[in-house]
Symmetry: C3
């Protein structure tokens, strides 16, 4: 199944072969990420952000404009009042009649899937509740593929809030398309990875381990994927203060790591990674973020079925 006219709802819908095709197209886009490439002239992307996400929104809008297309959008307080004022189906019908493709972010799980069922034009899930964030997972996997030349055979530590962070779940669901050597899931007990994701890991027979802190595994990790732990998730703030330290990535922790360790983060980051890390070779999150536009350029050009070069 090719990308042409396809809805992008969950990373699980894509095969290893699909993803490699996307990565190779992304490679071709790297030269154009600051220039115009008129592949989608006359096409309009509707950017429907019912929940804020500046990074995802702007990277899609930039990608569309780099490809010669244009954008209509709503976000912020306008999106909230739309969500109150009518049912989602009617809003999607409107966007479907105006635009050539829709990107939707919504707090309800399944919102993107519903939108895809209603709309004739392709729908891209820009994040639905705690559920999926497929283009972030594509970006994460591409970054690893680009940094290491492979995704197979590496040791992964996914760190932070694994319960609510859809990026962490989406990454795991993406990794199982490949052959990771081992996946460490490091989180406070309250924020452990959802059972259905664990079930999937086990079903595919991958080696994994759930931990409360790094312990002594730091020296074995190739890719560290960090997500925010939000204080608000903890019923008791004291509880948060206790665990907080275990997930602060700092120079001391990193001093025990492989030279080749690379740290990813979907951003924005708050204080889970010390600013001192930013300047080290370990920090790959800014590179990862910079791949956001070329990856989405690649994805959009594939969905519109445009040949390139």
């Amino acid at each position: 199944m090719s990308f042409k006219n396809r809805d992008i709802i969950s990373i699980t819908d894509f095969s290893r072969k699909d993803l490699i095709e996307l990565f190779k197209r992304t490679d071709l886009m790297l030269d154009y990420r600051k220039n115009r490439l008129n592949l989608l002239e006359g096409k309009i992307l509707a950017s429907a952000f019912f929940e804020p996400s500046t990074r995802t929104r702007l990277s899609f809008e930039t990608a569309m404009k780099r490809l010669g297309g244009d954008v209509i959008s709503f976000s912020g307080s306008e999106a909230i009042s739309i969500a109150k004022g009518e049912n989602l189906a009617d809003t999607i019908r409107m966007l479907d009649s105006y635009a050539n493709i829709i990107v939707i972010r919504h707090k309800y799980e399944g919102a993107a899937k519903l939108a895809a069922e209603i709309a004739e034009c392709p729908v891209i899930n820009g994040g639905d509740g705690k559920h999926h964030h497929p283009t972030q997972a594509m970006l994460d996997l591409y970054t690893i593929w680009k940094l290491f030349g492979k995704i197979d055979g590496l040791n992964y530590a996914i760190v932070g809030d694994l319960k609510y962070a859809r990026t962490a779940a989406s990454l795991v669901l993406g990794l199982i398309k490949f052959k990771p050597q081992k996946i460490y899931l490091i989180s406070p007990p309250q924020l452990k990875m959802k059972p259905e994701i664990i079930d999937t890991i086990e079903k595919y027979g991958f080696e994994y381990e759930e931990l409360n802190d790094f312990g002594d595994i730091i020296s074995t990790i190739d890719v560290m994927y960090v997500t925010r732990i939000q204080k608000e998730r903890f019923p008791d703030p004291m509880e948060y203060e206790k665990v907080k330290g275990s997930y602060n990535i700092n120079l001391k922790l990193i001093s025990k790591a492989k030279e080749t360790l690379r740290i990813l983060h979907p951003l924005p980051k708050i204080d889970e990674i010390d600013l001192a890390i930013d300047q080290t070779k370990f920090a790959a999150y800014f590179t990862q973020a910079a791949f956001g536009v070329p990856l989405r350029m690649a994805l959009l050009s594939l969905i519109f079925g445009v040949k390139f070069p």
Copy 2:
């Protein structure tokens, strides 16, 4: 009087001949509503929404972009702070010096007219208070013209809040440019059509009737135009609960209608039309909404005096 460089303030400013010219141009735009047509390259539309209206705003912005033009805009909280921070005339002068055409929505009646007096570039009224919404009326009339091949000789039921809904008033003022057979105005007594609109209907000698509910007229109607009845309009919520049912368009009511009845609605709709109606042949409101972009493409191209084809 042609459309060229003309302000679009009220539907009453346009003759039957004008409207037919607009409808024919809209027909030509239908093929381009998902593609680019470079008629307005280098032109910029200023989208000044002091009141939110995603549908109107996005349809204008999409239309401008489909025609190869571009858009600058403000809306939401930014619009509110502009409105507080300076007089409307100064804001309009700014937009007039930046853009080639201005679309304004504002809560004050007469705001668009004031803007048109100040600005050298054409001004389009995107809705002013309870007053006018001329491009919605144009869209409504075009939809009827397209569905029935005519506007003359049909029976109309305009239903809901006829007092505050500017779309209902604007439609009536548009209909009197044609020869409707009969206009039923169906609303709770508190939300009856404004006297000045009734006076206009009488002045033009059209047959009309004001009703509190459908009674047995449902079988005679060709076009049903439904607007929202907002609970907030009622001084007493009990009062609302009582009347509410009379204006719920459902399968039972429709079962007594002509096969050729078509239901229009300016959208967004809340619960005044049962979702079950959406799937029937009677529902024309999504088609109507989808005409929003080509109609506004036609209007913009006429105002800029562009010949087409």
Copy 3:
């Protein structure tokens, strides 16, 4: 030092020669301010307004679009939530990886300078706290140059809130690149010009005078530059009511002025200039505002190193 790839942080960074180059380029842009000039096709400007400023934001966005470029942006409540959610450096890194140039407005003094240190692409200061607003000063100086054919040898009165209005400070710092005959600084005692600006005037040896009201100097002034006096700046509202009148520019005051006096204002204006003045030949602020787009077109085209004509 040419404009090419240069950050625009403070008016003090630019020489008289630089400014004259900018003014001449602006002259060339006047013919294109309502048309498209494809000098920056494929370039994207990131418009990052952490503080609202519709006029500055829209004039930059219009300028970029007139030059054939495009824009990504955030503002309003979205900007506030970004500012809360991550450090400014990370936000700037994101924009730097997406766009070709960044315009930033921020309430913290030095925010634009910090952004310029982080970003590889050029950064334009759209206003930082009470600090600088260099493109407004460029616009003010261009307007004077255009109206009088020179900036040297004129008498200036800068009126209003000189303490907090960054436009007043930026204008003085711009004027000292030229040879003003005399600068009158007219403000309530609480809102006198900041000492460091006074020091700079003295260092350059310009004649100046600080006054509480116009007294009898009105007849000697060539350029009157008015800024808003905001009631909120006064600890005691009674205090405000007392001084308020001294800074109301009205026909009576102007009746004693030279025929050639011209009044500038960065806008938006509230009530510091009587509406009756708007219609007189003295009012130059709408002309000044209309120069905002061509001046920023000139600046952007110079920063991107585009030859023109």
